[in-house]
């Protein structure tokens, strides 16, 4: 009597998300980008502990400003006597806050409107499509520039609000269209029909069956959009209509460093480097996430 044994090679079943994460961990570019971003998040969260000075503290002891690095100010000071390193650290806080919050807002608006349009159809859908068509007919960053340009407040604190509002207003249509398209495709799938046929409510179908199945395209789009939002804020601030001084923004620091390109070029290149590395890390990670979630690239 021979014993019957399982001759198939044992393969542990893996969820698509777990498999994507495994592929992501094997990608060195993705790992390095994620590490850089992790450091940046820590810097942003603990800015007051890391920065030696406050972002608006002015050191008046220098005869010539801006001044090159010395023992007191490791990266030098700007034309107002503000410590460059401290402003870079607080600038990370501003950039990351802008990127993360705006993308969260955009996901909330985009998912609700996109699902509403795809599930209710009718005039909800028509309204969304016409509205997004109109928004796509105008370059979005330019729209944001005109918006903040016109509603620009006089109080520097309020400049955060105008930047957030303007960028949120121009940035949701892409996500809404993405969600709508995904939802339209998913609602015709057999498992949704099966759920509907046994009397599952619309709300439950959307939250249990449709939403979880479109998470990966949303995550990919959101990762890349964080970079886009950080760049958008930096552009507004560079033009002088974004975050207002004394609050630090990398875009504004780049702009403020321009007159000293000959004498103190690092005043411009430090924030430029910070911005460039952040956006590059986000884009490299975004690309890697997209590849990891793409079922066609599975080995």
């Amino acid at each position: 009597m021979t014993e019957i044994t399982d001759t198939l090679p044992s393969t542990k079943p893996m969820s698509p998300t777990a498999e994507a994460m495994r592929r992501l961990r094997r990608n060195p570019v993705a790992v390095v980008s994620a590490l850089i971003l992790a450091v940046l998040v820590v810097v942003a969260l603990f800015a007051p502990l890391i920065a030696p000075y406050s972002f608006d503290a002015m050191d008046r002891t220098y005869a010539v400003m801006p001044a090159p690095p010395d023992a007191k100010h490791r990266l030098g000071i700007d034309n107002l006597g503000q410590d460059t390193f401290s402003r870079l650290v607080y600038g990370a806080r501003v950039s990351l806050a802008v990127g993360v919050f705006l993308v969260l807002i955009q996901v909330v608006i985009g998912v609700s409107l996109g699902l509403l349009a795809a599930y209710k159809r009718g005039w909800w859908d028509t309204l969304l499509m016409r509205l997004t068509d109109a928004m796509f007919a105008f370059p979005d960053l330019l729209f944001a520039i005109l918006l903040v340009g016109i509603i620009r407040p006089t109080d520097p604190k309020l400049s955060f609000i105008t930047v957030f509002v303007a960028l949120a207003v121009v940035n949701w249509p892409g996500m809404a269209r993405l969600v709508r398209g995904q939802a339209l495709a998913l609602r015709e799938k057999e498992f949704v029909e099966a759920a509907r046929s046994i009397g599952v409510t619309d709300f439950k179908i959307v939250t249990r069956h449709i939403l979880p199945n479109m998470l990966s395209p949303i995550i990919v789009a959101a990762t890349v959009d964080v970079a886009g939002m950080i760049l958008a804020e930096a552009t507004l601030s560079f033009l002088g209509i974004g975050i207002q001084p004394p609050y630090p923004s990398w875009g504004r620091m780049i702009s403020d460093g321009r007159p000293y390109l000959r004498s103190e070029p690092m005043l411009l290149f430090y924030p430029a480097l910070a911005l460039g590395v952040t956006v590059l890390a986000l884009n490299f990670l975004g690309d890697a996430v997209r590849d990891a979630f793409d079922p066609r690239l599975r080995e």
Partner: protein, 314 residues
């Protein structure tokens, strides 16, 4: 084709009305009036009244908007608050050609370099050259013009002294516009290269390319005759969309290099709350965008005979 053109142009009217409506009423509701900026600290109420009347700012908002639209239809976009009463249309007529020239030169360079880079990357798929090209592409997409510009300025102007760091002497002096054009072209070049690569990879997998190879055509002929033209189609959309970026980019680049185009003017007008100029520029941008998209759609029918305008198309 002609009737389709007419429908498209008619559809542009609601878009332009919407843009003018939004910019007008945002300007109306905005904090801080341009009169405040003109009068400075000391405000004599009588002079204020006089100024408001002269600019029609004492009329009810809908009447003001109606007047704005009526005048705009007659080619009058009002007068600048900040620039000594100069007509907005005159300012646009002087400055827009400069911006348009920079945009066209940039798109020309971006298209040529982007197409070649994308093709080369696709033909060397997954090899070193492909990976290197795509790395450069990702860097160019990630870096904004205000990071690229200072790097190039320090390198080409301050260190090597090849080009002036800023200024504008007209189209006849390329040393002044080469740098801005390169900075503007960086991102569109990268996007075009990326799309051309993936589009080429798609086409190279098609049956008709296999057939062409199987019947013994030389590789060069297969690429020239069967691949490039088909791969180019989706890229055309990217080229069209790049104009939106170039207009936005001109706001930044013209400021960096001190070029007296519409982007430079717009930022100055925004900073001085010069609403008539802002409204004029918004309309101009919307109009340019509509025309560019129309031209791209028309080009589609030229490049691909399969795409035809139906007379019933809305």
């Amino acid at each position: 084709m002609l009737s389709a053109l007419r429908t498209r142009l008619l559809l542009a009217i609601p878009t332009l009305l919407l843009v003018s409506f939004i910019t007008f009423f945002l300007g109306y509701l905005a904090p801080g009036s341009p009169i405040d900026l003109m009068m400075g600290q000391h405000g004599d109420p009588a002079i204020r009244k006089q100024l408001e009347h002269a600019y029609g700012l004492d009329l009810p908002p809908l009447t003001q908007y109606g007047r704005f639209v009526w005048n705009a239809l007659h080619g009058d976009l009002g007068k600048s608050f900040a620039m000594a009463n100069r007509p907005v249309t005159q300012m646009i007529a002087e400055q827009f050609p400069i911006t348009a020239f920079l945009a066209l030169m940039s798109i020309l360079i971006a298209t040529v370099v982007g197409l070649v880079a994308g093709m080369v990357a696709a033909l060397r798929h997954n090899r070193l050259l492909d990976r290197a090209t795509m790395g450069v592409v990702l860097v160019s997409v990630s870096l904004p013009p205000f990071v690229v510009a200072p790097v190039l300025t320090v390198l080409l102007s301050l260190k090597l002294d090849w080009l002036p760091a800023s200024g504008w002497e007209g189209v006849a002096y390329p040393e002044y516009w080469i740098l801005p054009v390169l900075v503007l072209a960086a991102r569109p070049t990268a996007l075009i290269a990326r799309f051309m690569r993936s589009s080429m990879l798609d086409v190279l997998r098609q049956d008709y390319v296999r057939t062409a190879n199987a019947k013994g055509l030389s590789p060069a002929r297969v690429i020239a005759k069967h691949t490039v033209k088909n791969a180019f189609l989706p890229v055309l959309t990217v080229i069209g969309n790049s104009f939106g970026y170039l207009l936005t980019g001109s706001f930044v680049v013209e400021n960096i290099f001190g070029i007296p185009g519409i982007g430079y003017q717009s930022v100055q007008s925004i900073l001085s709350r010069d609403y008539p100029v802002i409204q004029g520029v918004a309309l101009l941008v919307a109009f340019t965008f509509i025309v560019v998209n129309l031209v791209v759609d028309m080009l589609y029918t030229v490049v691909d005979p399969r795409v035809r305008y139906e007379s019933s198309a809305a």
